[in-house]
Symmetry: D2
Subunit: 379 residues, 4 copies
């Protein structure tokens, strides 16, 4: 495994490395950790890398690693949003598989270019919508797929955080990174783009339903900010399913409060990211049930994506590592010439990335149009 | 106290009676419990009433009680929605104070007529938005009023229930009463009218904020129904405050899941009706706090609206009884010629009823107009 | 109904009156509210009583009411512990049914005298172990009785409170009433007597199991106190069932934290008084279940002891009122000559009172004997 | 790092490896994974080891690694209980630092021998009482140490599990491994030894209090078992602090339900292993507080033992990895000649191991003596 970005002090790079380390099956051997070659070198030392494989630019790395017999099997891309496209394109063109942090790209156009590249090349491309890695999210998905909820009627997905509220009254210390507030780096949306897409991905991952159109109101509560720090959407999913998706960074005291509720004709379920080992299932006229991670009564996906017995809690890093395991299993299959499993792979794909970018675009367009109903350009 | 409606087997009538009984200060002495005089008489026997004061019609009752020296001090109106107007008008015109179940009337026009009648007559008129009776809701209100949350930024109020979901697939037994699905009896909305208004009232009661406009999507998931069983609204409150209000009767497995979250610049709070003795308060950068009913550290309203020590849980009936206590205190003041307290009375008023009817009308109008932003006609 | 004790400002008297009032079926018509006739009179005015039936002593009241044709059907005894015996004896001897606050008496000897009196007279005697009135406690009992838990193996019942902890360091304001710390008024134990007996009663009510012997350590953490404010017991129930019962008044920050867990070979259950509307049921190898008050899937006792639909929370007063309903149903049966129902009545009896006094005595004896195993003298 | 035990399919070995892997600072380079050399070799392949450093016996490994210039810095011991002593002794005598799974040894005598060896050699010896690795446990410890709870009065620590209950009625599949039920391999206790010691360690880790004496009742509910599957203890800590510690493997439906409550004169705290990211703190007369992992308001130990921002849940493996980080920091200090930090190291030590063995011995002795008070032989 190689890495682009994620040098010293970069949070998401460290998460990717811990996720890769956890199971002792992936080794970081190369990287371009910073656009500053000196910094990149220092980070390489932190990670005990061969200095020869620590690069000053991602282009150099892609070229060199593609040329080595023992070149990296895949690259993890953990740079800022606006660089995802160029870096991913570069490695894909060099024939190297990619695990990329979300969002996929700066805008929908770039996303579709990458999508075509991936489909044409046949390379593996995984996007780290990490919440899909939680075992109980996989159980939720199984329940919907096997019809245990009946016909889905309504979905409510929410992702309130409060970490930026201090900036609303100007006494704040710029909790939202400058780059996240800059459309040239972050894209057309901050809050919906950064976390709203997680809520959206979760809704799609669990139910498989596409959004047809949405009405969104995005707000920048923080003075002087161009991009949203709060967004609320009414959703019309396919098949008449209704929903609400909202996200916020000014919801004081909420930490990482991603929640989803899926309501069906036979049962409903709810999952709270902050208590990820539980899945609450509510059948009509029956006691409320709590499915708990690590138990034998769960489906195979939930069981296989678990490392410890019941009630030895697992968390964010383990979920992240599950995405890595699934993606690298696919990469191994390709490298060793094994066919893909019939059921396919279970990691967020470039298509999910396109879906996310279409969601962001629709939210921004709708909001600029006074919350008019706006269709997703998935085409 | 007299009662109109609420005879044998009527749920809400019984709740009103328990609320009135609880503190041993109110006695039911007269009633017109049914439009069928025979049924009314039988109910009167259930309640140990003097048969002479059990009436066959509300008109008769209003006239007779107004004429008696020992006539009722007030009447509780617990008939179906479409009769609220006529009954309330009749008693007000007879000079009798009123405690009326919500919604105030069948439509906004009727509501405004009652509002004028009340204001002109000076009579006490209380509307039983009972959730405002919970001590911890009163504590929430105090915190907002005293600025402990800072400037309010966002409100999310939700009221999902699932009891009618069985009817979506036609296997149901008509969980929503026929009359609630009939616009002539229930008014222009079922779900928003019946429970959405509770969420709306709670938001206003706690924050004092008025809705300026809203974008609503109401849905009738149950085949053959004219009125909504689910509704989702984006809200623009005054002063740039944003919000979401939604209600549902097809949210499978949810019981009486009324929740509200109020986010301010200094702190936020959340209250869950199903665990009403707790109020969760989240200050920025501080441990999460749970304020619990019955403690000395609470404000006076929360303390005074409590009957048992901390952690001897109180519930729905006690909250309902708090509305009765506040309304009857006001009635006593009038009867005995005491001035109203400077801080005013703490019970939902006819103005809250008008506010609720305007909310319902805006939701229905917006939804019929493809969720266009629609102003509230509070005028 | 008449009342002895419970005048102005007395907490438990007010709870009894609210419980009696709630359902509109019981009327307070007589009382000896204080040993001070003047105070008794003032309380009588508070409750709108005929002055003639407000008495200056319980002896006078018993005699007078027994002599009246319209004399009270029963008396509620809410005096201090050391008077329970004399008052109860007086009314029983006058042929009047009794609802008595717990504990039954000052010591086991008195308790057995009352037990004999009740059995010999055939009068109804109810003890307000009010936690047995909660619907979900009744559901727990049903589940055990019908074998849904299998064979019971272990019971853990706890009742920590923290309200008296301020007195441990001497800065306190005497949170435990003086009389509760005085063996002549409270009996041989304070903490175990006042609240430990509730935990004990709950364990017996739910499982029907008798304690064979126990090893107890009682502690008086508050300086200068003769009676315990904390007590921990190892329990040997009949049939090899093991258990722990503990109670505390110095468990800082705990409010009324009565909890019970019952473990069986097929399933276990837990109930928390502070969230009384839920009953958690844990079957081996199955999702955890939460049975919720007000649902149709519950047994008949849970359903019948409920006043509002699911998730319209009920609490302490409603549970208390359920004891009143059950006891007064029995009293009505006697008065109107109806036979008792085959299944018997569902309220805590004089036998439960004797059981509780034997539990207290065994705890005190064991503790004085360095926690030696001590048998219960149920005889 | 080397490893003894923990080959293919061994749960605890895998946990140790994940904990070591997580932070990318420790590399497994040698091992004796099984007493069967063939199996050991296969496990070595699983972990990508140099075959030369995969050994057929721990003695061979200790000798060979001690002799290599690049020999392992420390060994992780994850064999069955009865071998801990011999393996640990062997590596300590070879001058190699040790991380050892608990319990320290088969009995108190062995434990004290190891203790002397460690103290005499000055080598680092860490025992993986992993629950002490949770950040919020460290916060609890800090609060007690800094006096935020005032004087400690009472401790309740419990560890109920239900996984073995199926064997009580004989229909079970031997959920408790045979070796755990065999005193020659597991030691004198199964349940208290395996999990009771975790509860005991937690109580000591958080409060620093020693147990003076205890009264224990151990039970073997499973027919035919020599060792306990349930145990309940009354505890007398030093300084008059009272407590309860209990553990169980037949508490149906409980999973890994380790909980601790510590009550002080100023405040109390509770921590639940199944929700490890929260610490509940209850000050007298103040709202209940929930301290949450990842926040700036926590003490330094809680902050430093964290890898992700607030509400990105961390769990069991991260806590385990914290023990590894602390122990390997100490090992690095020794190897690189740095002095130990003034505050000392924060990992469970050989002294904790001796303390645990003394606790087990006291429980077993007391139980065999009908729960007589029994002192801990810590001397």
């Amino acid at each position: 495994m190689g890495m682009v970005g994620g040098g010293r002090g970069a949070f998401i790079g460290q998460v990717h490395r811990m996720a890769a380390n956890l199971d002792g099956k992936i080794e970081l051997v190369a990287g371009a950790f910073s656009s500053d070659p000196e910094k990149s070198k220092l980070s390489g030392e932190d990670f005990f890398l061969d200095p020869e494989r620590v690069y000053g630019s991602y282009e150099e790395m892609a070229q060199a690693e593609a040329a080595r017999e023992d070149g990296v099997d895949f690259v993890s891309i953990v740079v800022q949003n606006h660089l995802h496209f160029a870096v991913a394109k570069c490695f894909l063109e060099a024939g190297i598989h990619v695990i990329c942090d979300k969002p996929l790209a700066l805008d929908l156009g770039q996303a579709k270019v990458l999508q075509k590249l991936v489909h044409d090349s046949g390379l593996i491309f995984a996007l780290t919508h990490n919440y899909a890695g939680y075992p109980m999210v996989k159980e939720a998905r199984r329940m919907v797929a096997e019809g245990e909820l009946g016909r889905i009627l309504k979905i409510v997905a929410e992702y309130p955080q409060g970490y930026a509220v201090g900036d609303v009254e100007g006494e704040g210390s710029g909790a939202i990174s400058n780059w996240r507030a800059d459309p040239k780096i972050a894209g057309a949306s901050n809050c919906i783009g950064d976390i709203g897409t997680h809520a959206h991905h979760l809704a799609h991952y669990i139910t498989g339903l596409e959004i047809e159109e949405l009405a969104a109101e995005l707000t920048a509560f923080i003075p002087g900010r161009e991009l949203d720090d709060d967004g609320n959407c009414l959703i019309r999913f396919q098949d008449g399913v209704k929903g609400i998706i909202y996200a916020s960074q000014i919801s004081n005291g909420d930490e990482n409060n991603l929640n989803i509720r899926v309501y069906g004709t036979k049962a409903s379920l709810e999952w709270h990211q902050e208590e990820p080992n539980d899945l609450i299932v509510k059948f009509a006229n029956a006691p409320r049930q709590t499915y708990r991670r690590g138990n034998d009564y769960l489906g195979s996906a939930a069981q296989e994506n678990t490392r410890t017995p019941f009630a030895h809690p697992e968390g964010f890093i383990e979920a992240f590592a599950n995405i890595y395991l699934a993606a690298t299993a696919a990469i191994s299959d390709q490298i060793e010439g094994r066919p893909a499993p019939e059921a396919g792979y279970d990691f967020p794909s470039v298509d999910d990335g396109v879906r996310g970018m279409a969601f962001i675009k629709a939210c921004v367009d709708s909001s600029q149009n006074n919350a008019a109903w706006t269709k997703l350009e998935l085409g």
